[in-house]
């Protein structure tokens, strides 16, 4: 039976498994790195922190980690029990299917069993016995019924004749056209559908097919065209690997074509099903790069390759700045709840400088629309587009339904705290994360940039990551004030001002000031 487990669960070599398998505190808190090596967590808290998902968990006390691990262990046991209760084991299914499979597929009794392949084992055995009894009774008839016996003996012959006649019919989907049917047919059909499409083919579990079975070896190459061409890689070396000719019959032509031309990867898929450990083909390549910060290779599965590449570029750029360095320290241990709450001590020093712009006279403000911003984005630098977007947030009326950009800003506000790291110097330093990279690309696409990757990387190269994060913070602030989110709080007093004009002025001055003086000298 094919593996139907979800993708993530079937890729243990890249899953970070920080949770202990048992509730025992002395049990190994281990997690697996991308290269397969098992690492032992220092403690339950460490195990939780290293989990890409649970690492965002705010725990009030280290003991809570033990509680969570205990819950996880309990939950896993319960899930396992539920799975065993509602899903029979493959072995049991294989045994049930084996009982349905007579050793001689040419017997007429096989046709009857086809109709009910899903019967429980005892019913199947009963049916087999019933068929056997029928055959015995047929052969044990009185001499007066000799004609019937002859007729019965002719049944296999008639079956073969019918089979041959069926071969000549254009029935590409008919699995019973082969005189030696279901093993090869099953191998034929399985690569196309990856399921058990035929009742007959369900009789034998596919994983138990032996290439050296006499029936398979004795069949002609023509009749085994699609199967043998697929089975060759799985047979022992030394076997005849000569290409199997494609028959001229219309029925056979379709299947070999399907097997070899339209689905060139079926060989590999078929091979996989023969192996006990079936691995999924991962469409998204797992990038074997070291992802710094709190991200792990497991996140590489959740993010598209483009996002990972952009993240790598931004991380490399950030490394080049003298005033910024990619932090490998632990993130802020207590991520804020509700989602965005900046404490004064965690705010970079530059924020306090923005207060000096309180009394600055506001510039003339021009109203704009989102469509205008998107149309002009390609011809404007990103900082200007962000300023225009800030104007839009400050002056536009709140729509009944927030658009995609506002939703993106909410998501950015959520992941912003993870972009600040308190290092050994106890000063918050910026860092880029995969989540933020993903949201930035979405934001830039929403603003009208056709190549957000290049724009984003160029912006960070020019102005640094800190400036970008500052800009994002103010955009989130404007968005929040526009939406009057109840749980969006700032501890900075000036952010509670209701003067939209003042806020807009601050936003514009932030971009202008930072772009011209502060960060320009920091490079």
């Amino acid at each position: 039976m094919t593996n139907t487990e979800p993708l993530v669960a079937s890729a243990p070599e890249i899953i970070n498994v920080p949770l202990a398998e048992s509730a025992d505190a002395e049990a190994a808190f281990t997690y697996q790195r991308a290269d397969g090596t098992m690492e032992r967590a220092v403690s339950a808290e460490d195990a939780i922190a290293r989990c890409p998902v649970l690492g965002k968990l705010a725990m009030e006390a280290p003991e809570q980690a033990n509680v969570l691990l205990e819950l996880a262990a309990t939950g896993k046991e319960k899930m396992k029990a539920q799975e065993e209760q509602y899903a029979p084991k493959p072995k049991e299914q294989a045994e049930a299917k084996q009982s349905l499979n007579p050793k001689k597929p040419g017997q007429p009794v096989e046709l009857e069993l086809e109709k009910e392949p899903s019967l429980p084992k005892e019913d199947v055995v009963h049916q087999v016995a019933s068929a056997t009894e029928i055959m015995n009774k047929v052969h044990d008839v009185a001499p007066a019924e000799k004609a019937e016996r002859v007729t019965t003996a002719q049944l296999p012959i008639q079956h073969q004749q019918i089979t041959k006649a069926a071969e000549q019919l254009p029935q590409p989907q008919q699995p019973s056209k082969q005189p030696k049917p279901f093993i090869e047919e099953r191998a034929l059909v399985e690569p196309e559908t990856a399921i058990l499409p035929d009742k007959k083919t369900e009789l034998i579990p596919f994983t138990e097919i032996k290439p050296e079975t006499p029936e398979l070896n004795d069949t002609s190459e023509q009749t085994l065209t699609p199967v043998k061409s697929l089975r060759e890689p799985f047979e022992q070396p030394g076997l005849d690997e000569s290409p199997v000719p494609v028959t001229s019959e219309p029925t056979d032509d379709e299947e070999p074509t399907t097997a070899t031309e339209e689905h060139p990867n079926q060989k590999h898929e078929l091979k996989e099903t023969l192996l006990p450990a079936i691995e999924y083909k991962v469409d998204v390549a797992i990038v074997p790069v070291e992802i710094e910060g709190s991200t792990d290779n497991e996140l590489a599965i959740q993010f598209e390759p483009e996002i990972i590449e952009v993240y790598q570029e931004l991380a490399n750029i950030t490394k080049a700045y003298k005033v910024e360095s990619l932090i490998l320290d632990e993130p802020i241990s207590d991520p804020v709840l509700p989602p965005l709450e900046f404490r004064a001590e965690n705010i970079p020093v530059l924020v306090e400088d923005f207060k000096s712009f309180f009394d600055e006279p506001p510039d003339s403000l021009e109203t704009t629309t989102l469509e205008t911003i998107q149309e002009q984005a390609q011809n404007k630098p990103l900082e200007q587009t962000l300023v225009d977007f800030a104007e839009l947030l400050a002056y536009s009326e709140q729509p009944s339904q927030p658009n995609e950009l506002r939703i993106t800003l909410r998501n950015i506000a959520t992941v912003l705290p993870t972009c600040y790291i308190i290092g050994e110097a106890k000063e918050p330093r910026p860092r880029i994360t995969l989540e933020m990279t993903e949201q930035l690309l979405i934001l830039l696409r929403g603003l009208g940039y056709e190549h957000p990757r290049e724009v984003l990387v160029g912006f960070v190269q020019k102005y640094s990551l800190s400036f970008l994060l500052q800009a994002l913070r103010y955009l989130c602030l404007l968005n929040n004030l526009a939406e009057q989110h109840e749980f969006f709080k700032f501890s900075i007093s000036y952010t509670t001002s209701s003067d939209d004009r003042l806020i807009l002025n601050i936003g514009k001055l932030v971009f202008g000031f930072l772009a011209k003086s502060t960060f320009g000298s920091a490079k």
Binding site: Q64, V67, L68, L71, G75, F303, P338, E404, I407
Partner: protein, 88 residues
């Protein structure tokens, strides 16, 4: 608090949201890189790691002294993934 346990939606994710007092977020749309999903489907994002804990928490007694702190922590974790979406 206890009423959340009495209400048992059929949807697994929605059931856990109600368990954590976040049932009002069930219909909220969460934009993702692959398209918007509903908050009740948050397990598609973090279910591999969160599901075992949520399953275990579902059986946790409300009289357990650790219940409230654990619920608050899980509420913050799940809220991290589902909040910020568009109200349905």
């Amino acid at each position: 608090m206890e009423q959340h346990r009495d209400f048992q939606p059929e949807h697994e994710g929605e059931r856990y949201l109600h368990l954590l007092g976040l049932g009002h977020l069930a219909g909220r749309e969460i934009p993702t890189s692959s398209g918007a999903i509903q908050a009740r489907d948050f397990l598609d994002i973090c279910g591999e790691h969160a599901r075992p804990i949520l399953v275990g928490f579902e059986d946790m007694s409300s009289e357990d002294p650790r219940y409230e702190t654990t619920k608050a922590a899980l509420r913050g974790l799940i809220g991290h993934y589902v909040e910020g979406g568009t109200p349905s």
